[in-house]
């Protein structure tokens, strides 16, 4: 889709919505219009940059040390002749972090296939086990090493949080992996896992969108992907222009958001001073 088509489509959707609105907008919850506009704008921004990237525009990604260290960690495991342990979080596939974790697993599996390093992926949910297996299988096939793949690389332990932590700790203590990846959604077990990994001297790379667990991972791991870096990992590792475009779109969204926050502060100040009769907070509050 070129720029002309993009603007034409966007304009079409806008005109269609205006017509719908003028016709009395049946079934639409009016109070949520601000949220809808915000979503549409955000989506349009991301799609715009994806299209730009698809057309071949050069987009540079800043170096993220944690992502650069992925290959180093797998390489270290290969040199030491020890396995790589990958923990994709403790929640199910209905969480976007787990999906992101399974996608990153695919990239790590490509590296382990390339270096012929054993990979061990204990999971806490059966559906994650199936999705993880597919992802790893694809990676090994793509690297031309289906012979190295076996289904039990991705295996189920238990659904329970602390039983899972105990199981993964047991694997760490017995197998002594040289590299441990924590990529997904974690709760209180994060520090139990990361400290055990630290005690066996493994190089540890964590990535999560759980804000409460970030300090624990920062303390106990060698590298931590914080929030958005975790979601950019797939783009960074694959260098797929479409994914890189989406990351660029998210960055532009952040700039727009900073502008909106500053504008909001000014408008709120004016409202408090009585200079304008428009309460931005009331306008932006999600109903």
């Amino acid at each position: 889709m070129n720029d002309k088509k993009f603007w034409f489509t966007l304009g079409g959707i806008f005109v269609a919505f205006i017509i719908y609105w003028l016709l009395g907008h049946p079934f639409f919850i009016e109070e949520r219009i601000v949220m809808l506009i915000a979503i549409m704008l955000a989506a349009a921004t991301i799609i715009y940059y994806i299209n730009k990237a698809k057309r071949g525009e050069e987009i540079s990604l800043r170096t993220i040390p944690g992502l650069k260290a992925f290959e180093e960690a797998v390489g270290r495991s290969t040199e030491m002749g020890k396995p790589v342990l990958y923990v994709p979080g403790i929640v199910d596939m209905d969480q976007v972090e787990t999906v992101a974790g399974v996608i990153i697993l695919g990239h790590v599996a490509k590296m382990t296939a390339q270096y012929e390093t054993p990979l061990n992926v204990p999971v806490a949910r059966s559906i994650v086990m199936k999705a993880g297996r597919e992802s790893v299988r694809e990676a090994y096939i793509m690297q031309g090493r289906p012979d190295l793949f076996h289904e039990d690389m991705v295996h189920y332990l238990t659904d329970d949080q602390f039983a899972y932590a105990a199981g993964v700790n047991g694997i760490m203590m017995r197998e002594k992996p040289a590299a441990v990846f924590y990529q997904g959604k974690f709760y209180a077990e994060s520090l139990i896992l990361a400290e055990t990994g630290n005690s066996i001297g493994a190089i540890q790379i964590a990535g999560t969108a759980s804000p409460a667990q970030i300090p624990f991972f920062v303390t106990a791991c060698d590298y931590t992907l914080i929030g958005e870096e975790f979601f950019a990992a797939s783009a960074y590792l694959s260098r797929d222009p479409k994914l890189v475009g989406a990351v660029k779109g998210a960055d532009v969204l952040k700039v727009i958001l900073i502008g909106a926050i500053l504008l909001g502060i000014v408008l709120r100040l004016f409202y408090d001073l009585g200079w304008v009769n428009f309460d931005i907070l009331k306008f932006l509050t999600v109903q």
Partner: protein, 345 residues
């Protein structure tokens, strides 16, 4: 390929769009799909998938034992634990109770026995017997795992002349899983919960070792973390409110001296800064009469509040906004079918 690629991507796009825009639509069917049906479908799928997980777990543990891999002894416990949970959940409901239907000819003996069995006094037991006489059978609270145990209790009441009935726990809705005293309930609260609590309790020790590493003074950021940590910890305990803000100011002046010395490495400058700082603090303290909670910015309870509510919240919100945008961009990639690696490249 069509069934494994295009169809799943189409389902993701359709359900994703419906879920996203369903929030703006006031239509009961769409609302019920977004709020209830879609999540229930997922729960149903996940419930069936648990069999795959359980079978995989058993297969690996058996393989470990057969091949005598490293740590195979633990696998025996895993299999036994699984078998016991299976037995307690599906086969050995083990929840027999005794119903006392009528008291018989010797109410005093039954009351005495009831008082012993229910650990109450004789008056309460007699009052309960009156209710039984009025036609309300009494179900004894104690739940027995085995037929032998329940028969023993029933025999005691029969020997006292009471008419009793043994009631096995019913299957209805898996009631035996939550029934106090059942085998499964015992396993859950007496074995599983303490084991989970043990793992959770490890966290306290791990936090200590992690804090030690985080608070080691290696660079400026670690020092800042250490100082902020000390202020937060002291400000949140009663002793923090007893520490005068003037003492804190003196400490700040000394810390400033350390920083200037590290930065400039100049003794005279460091001495002048520390000396001047101490003098200013002393002059202000004497002129204000050394109040414990003023100036407020150096009073630990207020200072920790500020650190917690301003820089901490600002940092946390910045991370949250980043995460929010990341989640949105990732979701858009799935909905638009740009990111397909979750079903293979």
């Amino acid at each position: 390929m069509f069934w494994k690629r295009q169809i799943p991507i189409a389902i993701v796009a359709l359900v994703g769009t419906l879920t996203l825009f369903g929030w703006f639509v006031d239509q009961p069917d769409i609302k019920s799909f977004v709020d209830d049906d879609a999540t229930q479908w997922y729960d149903i799928l996940a419930s069936f998938a648990i069999f795959l997980g359980a079978l995989n777990l058993l297969k690996l543990q058996f393989q470990k034992i057969i091949k005598q891999k490293k740590g195979w002894q633990y696998s025996i416990f895993a299999i036994l634990g699984f078998a016991f949970a299976f037995y307690a959940g599906f086969l050995g409901r083990g929840a027999y109770t005794v119903n006392v239907n009528s008291v018989g000819d010797n109410p005093e003996a039954v009351a005495q026995l009831l008082a012993e069995e229910t650990e109450t006094n004789i008056e309460t037991a007699t009052a309960v017997l009156d209710l039984i006489e009025d036609g309300s059978p009494l179900m004894l609270e104690e739940v027995h795992w085995t037929g032998k145990s329940v028969n023993a209790t029933a025999d005691k009441f029969i020997a006292s002349g009471a008419d009793v009935e043994i009631i096995p726990e019913q299957w209805s809705g898996g009631a035996h899983l939550t029934r106090t005293g059942s085998l499964f309930n015992w396993m859950f609260f007496q074995v599983f919960t303490p084991l989970s609590a043990t793992m959770f309790a490890l966290l306290a020790f791990l936090v200590a070792s992690a804090s030690y590493r985080a608070f080691r003074i290696r660079n400026f950021e670690a020092t800042l973390l250490l100082v902020a940590g000390i202020i937060i910890m002291l400000g949140r305990v009663p002793i923090g409110s007893k520490i005068s803000s003037w003492f804190v100011l003196y400490v700040f002046v000394l810390l400033l001296g350390v920083m200037i010395n590290t930065w400039k490495k100049n003794r005279i400058l460091t001495f002048a800064t520390v000396g001047l700082g101490l003098l200013i603090v002393t002059i202000f303290g004497m002129s204000m009469g050394w109040p414990i909670d003023r100036p407020g910015f150096a009073y630990l309870p207020k200072l920790q509040d500020w650190i917690y509510l301003v820089p901490n919240v600002a940092g946390a919100r910045a991370i949250m906004i980043g995460i929010g945008i990341g989640v949105f961009a990732t979701s858009m990639r799935y909905i638009l079918g740009i990111e397909k690696s979750y079903i293979g490249e």
